[in-house]
Symmetry: C2
Subunit: 352 residues, 2 copies
């Protein structure tokens, strides 16, 4: 958790959110100025307009298509091993832009805060958002704050929406997987899900797994340099690896064959799953991308990924086949096969 | 409230949201397909990508700057006289774009839903968003759904973010008011606030006031035709007319003198305010814009506004003066003056 001593001291230190902080008047203005504008430190925010503005000419230089995405974050608890809701809220939206081939640029930030929430925690979360935005090279340019009475929301929810620009050379789509392609991942699956389970402390587990929550855009830039024609790419968040692969198989009308022995899962994460009856293939990740590329491209792509700090454990975990269309099949390692369906029901609520 | 009989019958009729609807798997996919994709009916949503994409060349035709904004909506109750949270969520973001001179284009939609929420109500709200988006000429192009356990949120919160394009001719900013300018409004203030108070039913009022919730972009298009050089413009939502004028006075370092006899307030709204000790100048609106323009432009502007269905009650309510800088002053009508400060404290929680 970010140390409060390293953050600028405001008049809100030690205080709590009241309904007045969401009422549109002076108290809200003060909170916005001291916590959000100062914390996010973006030129657009200091103008105090209700909208941020950018020259289209600068966007045109980066590509020919605007990409737009949004996510709400309701993770519980707000602080967990390796991250917090702020880091998650920036990372998730940056990644949703980046996996489509877009250069992420600008983020909005909407906060729904429960009356009584500690402003110190809010300042920590804003600092975490700012630091994550900096590391991803994006700016938080406009926002909104709502306060609801005690009991009407659980502590804090964040929404971020983001825009980015896609270069002309890129054409990443869920329906472009074809027989002969291979499936690549940039590392271990399930770390985020396991870290949240651990943070909830309900199971008295003592594990050292931290969330994999990390912006993927820098890795993706390196990937696109050596392999501009990535066919499909998505980050495996809620619903995990299994869900993303099912989406690809279904959209592309192909089969995806996975090799269970190749899918990287930490022993600890496997242990958590065994205790709780979970499947690591469905566990949430916040820094894992799944890419489908031609076999010819895969070798140079993998080499480039493995050179990157967040891609060093990258590997090929499966291949695309013609049939059975729309199915994801796991080779269990004993010559057996098992169909990996979309997640049915609920694994863990409020995972992100 | 939108009649369910007029909406497509889905397999969810009469059912309630469960945690599985937010888990990222098959249940969520079904809900998204049948309620959101079918309800919003946008080509971008049917692609089922995590991001929407648009040709920048189409945006370049509309102007030279991209505008971006966001708002969270936590209004209580969800349905109220003349509107609902869905209408509000589209209108609010459309208006935040339009008052800056932007042509609103694309909206994102993030929903945080409490477990147990009736899916029929969700379908009604989505239909209301779609109908409002259609009337404003915008599309809802991407979204996100989170479900939280019972008690972790009060029924439903919505976030929308929006992008639009600002034409080269427009330069609307809160710091451009100057002495000699006049202050224009497009009608009665406080209707939204009064309608919400009435809808809560706590005061056993029997009034017929409905929310003024309405997209302003069509009216603003007509305004910009006759008066391209609008100096300042903002919609008076949370914090009301008083807050917007204080923001203009402060950003532009001018005084704003209001004539109390000219500010349109319905008798009923005035009555609600008297009973509750509220001031209509601070009451929320969801379809009222305040524009500051030169005196020379004001006559033709007013004529154009009065011709528009949502501008027929437009009038001049005040003037900009040099000093006292940063102050908003109300002539009370008996030769007296009163300083109208920013809203201190809280008027009505969860008004929008």
């Amino acid at each position: 958790m970010i140390d409060l001593e390293n953050l600028p001291k405001t008049k809100f230190r030690g205080k709590n959110i009241t309904l007045a902080h969401g009422a549109g008047g002076k108290a809200m203005r003060d909170l916005i100025d001291e916590i959000f504008v100062a914390g996010f430190d973006s030129p657009e925010l200091t103008l105090l307009e209700d909208q941020a503005r950018f020259d289209l000419s600068n966007l045109n230089k980066l590509g020919n298509r605007l990409a737009m995405t949004t996510d709400c974050y309701v993770v519980d608890p707000l602080f967990f091993p390796g991250g917090d809701i702020g880091k998650l809220a920036v990372t998730g939206t940056v990644n949703d832009l980046a996996v489509g081939g877009a250069t992420p640029l600008y983020l909005t930030c909407g906060m729904i805060i429960e009356e009584g929430f500690p402003i110190d925690d809010l300042q920590r979360i804003v600092a975490s958002m700012k630091s994550t935005a900096d590391s991803a090279g994006v700016r938080i340019v406009t926002g909104d704050t709502k306060v609801v009475p005690r009991g009407a929301a659980d502590k804090l929810f964040i929404n971020t929406a983001g825009v980015g620009v896609i270069p002309e050379t890129s054409n990443i789509q869920a329906n472009r997987a074809q027989a002969g392609d291979v499936v690549v991942i940039n590392g271990y699956v399930g770390d985020h899900g396991a870290a949240i389970v651990d943070a909830r402390g309900e199971l008295a587990l003592e594990i050292s797994t931290v969330t994999d929550c990390q912006p993927l855009n820098d890795l993706i830039t390196e990937m696109l340099k050596v392999c501009p024609d990535i066919h499909c790419m998505r980050d495996a968040t809620r619903g995990g690896l299994a869900t993303v692969l099912n989406e690809f198989a279904s959209s592309s009308e192909v089969a995806i064959q996975l090799d269970n022995t190749k899918i990287p899962v930490r022993e600890e994460v496997r242990g958590v799953c065994e205790i709780l009856g979970l499947d690591p293939l469905y566990l949430a990740n916040e820094g894992k991308l799944i890419a489908i590329v031609s076999k010819e491209d895969s070798e140079s792509l993998l080499a480039a990924m493995q050179k990157h700090p967040i891609g060093k454990d990258s590997c090929i975990i499966g291949a695309v086949e013609e049939s059975p269309q729309g199915k994801v099949i796991l080779e269990t390692g004993f010559g057996g096969n098992r169909i990996i369906d979309m997640l049915i029901g609920e694994q863990l609520p409020r995972i992100c």
